[in-house]
Every structure is written in C-alpha cells, then in structure tokens.
Symmetry: C2
Subunit: 175 residues, 2 copies
DNA sequence: CCAGCCATGTAAATCGTTACATGATTGC
DNA sequence: GCAATCATGTAACGATTTACATGGCTGG
C-alpha cells in the first residue's frame, strides 16, 4: 500500500512521466522507501486501470516519447482514504547487523574492514542529504513551502546517518 | 540470503526447535531483520534438505513434540562462506514517512496524532532495548562474552530509537 | 470457560528483485 | 567509439505477508 500512497502523493504535487517520477522518488522518498522502475511502471499501469490517474502520451523530438501521468479526482479521494489509515511500524533490514550478529566466526580485521566500507557509504549518504537540505534552505519561501513535508523526512534521514556513523566509530573502537 | 545467515548464526550459538529459534530471533535479530514462523520453518526445511542442519524429534509430555535442529559441519562451512561475502546496504521502510511525505493533504492535528502514536511505540521499543542491555550487562563475564556481538547490534537499535524520538519531538514542535 | 503459550505446518497472494529487451541522443 | 541519459516495458524468480489449520496444556 505504501507504494501506491507514494506514487499518488508524488503525482498530487506534480504530474510527470514514469521516468521523471522515479527520479523524484529516488531523491526524496527513496531514503525510506525503495522501488525500481519496473515496480513503478507496473504501479502506474495499475493506477491507470483503476482510474486513479490519467495518462497522456507526449511526443518529444530528440528524446523518446513519454507518458505523462496526472492524478484524477478519484485518485485524490483514494489518496485521502489511504492517508486516513494508520501507518504501520517501520522496518529496518540491515544485512551488516545480521553479519555482525553471527560474526563470532569472523576475525576483528574482517569486521573492521566491513565496518569501514559501510561507514564510508553512510558518510556519502549523509553528505547527499545535507546538500539536499541546503538546496531546500535557499529556496524562495513560496517554493520552499511545497517541500515542507519532504524536508521533515530528510531530517530523520540525517539523524539516522549520524547515528550510524557514531555507532560505527564506537564499534570500531571496541574491536 | 540474510535469513539463511541469521538462522545458521543462531544455531551456531545453540541448537533449538523452530519455535525456540523464533523467540531468540525476535529478541535479538528481530530489530533489524524480521521474519515469521512460516518463513523460519520453511528455511529450516530447506537447510535440512541441504544437509546444513540436523534434526532430531524430541517427544515431550504435557507439551507438543518438537524438532531440535543442530548445525552440521557443512552448515558451519556454509555460514563462513556467507559471512565472507560483503553485506549489502541497509534498507529502511517507514510507512509513516511516506505518509508524512504525501501529507500536505492532512491537517496538522492528524499528523500530530499519528506522530504521538509512533512516538509511544518508539519509547516502548527503546525501553525494551535498554532492559535487554541491562540484563546483558549484569551477566557473568563468560556468559556475557557470548553475547558480545548481539550486544553491539543492540546499541545501534538504541541509537536509532533515540534518533526517532528526538525527531518526533522536533517535528511536533514545528507543526 | 477463555485466553495464551507451546509447536508445527500448508497455501495463496502480494510484493520486490534481477534479468532480459530496445533504441535514439548527448557529451567526452 | 563508449558511457550515460532518456524512456518504456516483459518475465522469471525469490521473498514476504496473510490466511487457514490443528490441538493439548496452563493459569486466571
């Protein structure tokens, strides 16, 4: 259900093609809900079949044709209905922690190496988030208001990455 | 693959029935990798078919029979092989953030109510983690050493919950 | 008597990932 | 020339969730 909510939510802000939606997805929702282009296109087909979105084919020159999707009135109602329901609990799935858990069998060096790798990735992610946050901060107030909610989610992303990094340091120090 | 690693990892520490494993799972790995009894039983069957675990039926009085699984030498090798591979990136899936993201359509009151609910759940989770941490801390050194790695994962869980709570407060203040 | 724990499973449905598939355009 | 971007899809597989199914024992 969350994917449906996500797609309707994105289209509610602004219409767009599957491709464009995927990009917006990755730069916002993607931090706490992942998807692939295959899933997105499938979902758009399903939403279209349900009459929750409209689809208009747009020819472009020097680029492939695209299908621009727009949310319908019924789509808006469906979104409201979905939003009215309680949001389920969050789920974290971290293979690194599974590995660490079962990692009595690993040498401290192996663990340390793995931690370093993940730490670097989290540093990168954090940098990305902060950049995004800054680019939102310098927006003129009116445009910025439209990104108010996404901005709030971004802050949790930042807190998470900070937590991860601090933890990496702590664990490395103990190995 | 992570489920396989998790189950072999649990059996590597101590043999047990599917039911017992599920309980241990929920109180440790469950924080960053979820599963159901259906999935666990299926995985145990698969591991058994592969010869990675042994299975002994144990009759009990005043309780149903159970099947106690033990990791085999080949299972140990397979676990090592799995541990040698790089761990993939973590994935967070939080329906609340999807909702918040699409939540321009919601009133601040609705959002606040939802946040309060989640905040309470995170407080509870944090309390559970801290309790677990304490119960590990008072263990005699030898027994405690066996839980060293799980204890490290628990610390990340605590950091996450703290991050979540701080974020809830921050967002509530802004609504 | 009812709820909850112990203990195991099957089946169906949904969701998510990976692989395969195409093809023009732009920038290095 | 090669890689990346734009743009869309199908198919197979694997993972996960939800529903169905059973049944004795324990404690309030």
């Amino acid at each position: 259900m969350s994917l449906k909510m996500a797609v309707l939510g994105l289209l509610d802000v602004e219409p767009g093609s599957g491709y464009a939606l995927l990009q917006r997805f990755r730069n916002s929702l993607g931090f706490f809900w992942q998807t692939t282009h295959q899933q997105l296109y499938k979902e758009l087909h399903a939403l279209h079949a349900e009459g929750l979105v409209e689809c208009e084919e747009v020819a472009q020159d020097s680029k492939p044709d695209k299908k621009v999707y727009t949310i319908t009135a019924r789509g808006g109602e469906e979104l409201d209905r979905l939003l009215a329901g309680a949001a389920g609990p969050a789920k974290i799935r971290d293979p690194l922690l599974v590995k660490l858990f079962a990692g009595q069998r690993l040498t401290p060096e192996q663990l340390r190496a793995e931690l370093e790798t993940h730490q670097k990735e989290h540093e990168q992610t954090l940098a990305t988030y902060r950049l995004l946050q800054q680019s939102l901060a310098v927006l003129p107030p009116k445009r910025r208001a439209r990104y108010r909610h996404p901005e709030l989610t971004l802050r949790l992303g930042i807190r998470f990455e900070e937590a991860w990094l601090a933890w990496c340091e702590e664990v490395k120090a103990e190995l």
